[in-house]
């Protein structure tokens, strides 16, 4: 399978005859903001390097500072991709049979919630605040007839469209 071509978005636990309709994650702003902080920290450290390089003693200590700098960037790189991993693995998958919510909370902490489309009784969308309206993200609340009465999906992009996709699939499924 090439990672540079179209994907059918298959996943572990997919049932026979089950087709993935939509895979969505939290709005991209919740990925970019922490990454921007990490990038900003890296920029500050680089600026500090340029500043100390103007001192006479820098030449003597430059090898050790270069080592420390590369170590810091290695740590920042790993920190950034930790955040990208958590963001990428937190998904809402809508199929023609159910909705699956994957929550990756850490390396060894993982929660999966599943909701059958036929159990959906009601869906509501909440977009609260000017920033949420501007960036078009919100929460979806799903009322279920199953064991768990309510499902909450937070900070999703285009929540109205996602709600429409769910309702479409529910109608087709019934």
């Amino acid at each position: 399978m090439s990672i540079f071509t179209f994907s059918k978005n298959t996943f572990e636990g997919q049932l026979p005859g089950e087709e993935t309709i939509l895979v969505t994650r939290k709005h991209w702003i919740f990925l970019v903001l922490p990454l921007f902080l990490i990038f900003f920290l890296g920029a500050i450290i680089l600026a500090f390097t340029f500043w100390i390089s103007s001192f006479s003693w820098y030449e003597r200590f430059s090898p050790i500072w270069q080592f420390i700098l590369s170590l810091i960037f290695l740590i920042l790189w790993n920190l950034g991709f930790w955040w990208i991993m958590i963001y990428s693995l937190n998904t809402i998958i809508i199929t023609n049979k159910r909705i699956i919510e994957n929550k990756q909370l850490g390396l060894f902490k993982h929660i999966v919630n599943e909701l059958q489309l036929k159990d959906i009784q009601d869906i509501s969308v909440k977009i609260i605040g000017p920033f949420a309206h501007l960036m078009n993200y919100g929460d979806i609340e799903v009322q279920s007839a199953g064991t768990v009465a309510k499902f909450f999906f937070n900070q999703l992009p285009w929540p109205e469209k996602i709600k429409n996709v769910i309702m479409e699939q529910k109608i087709k499924e019934s």
């Binding site: 990672i3 540079f4 071509t5 994907s7 978005n9 298959t10 996943f11 572990e12 993935t20 895979v23 003597r60 200590f61 090898p63 050790i64 270069q66 080592f67 700098l69 590369s70 170590l71 960037f73 290695l74 790189w77 790993n78 991709f81 930790w82 990208i84 991993m85 990428s88 693995l89 998904t91 998958i93 994957n102 990756q104 390396l107 993982h110």
Partner: protein, 72 residues
């Protein structure tokens, strides 16, 4: 001699933790990621991690502790 052994043990421990952490991130992205984006992220992370790790090792080996510790 014991100081050298201790520093080597410390180095191996730190290296093991780092390699385990890198493997865990790549594994999680490839194994549990849905679609192609997580797999691409895993590739970018792996390549960048390798480059930065190599740079760190090279810079460490370039350090001349005699020059730094002996006052001129």
């Amino acid at each position: 001699m014991s100081q050298k052994i201790l520093s080597n043990i410390l180095f191996v421990i730190i290296l093991s933790i780092y390699l385990w952490y890198t493997f865990a991130i790549v594994y999680h992205l490839i194994r549990f990621g849905v679609g192609t984006k997580p797999k691409r992220m895993a590739l970018i992370f792996f390549v960048g991690s390798f480059i930065l790790f190599s740079a760190t090792v090279i810079f460490y080996l370039k350090i001349n502790w005699q020059d730094i510790l002996i006052a001129k």
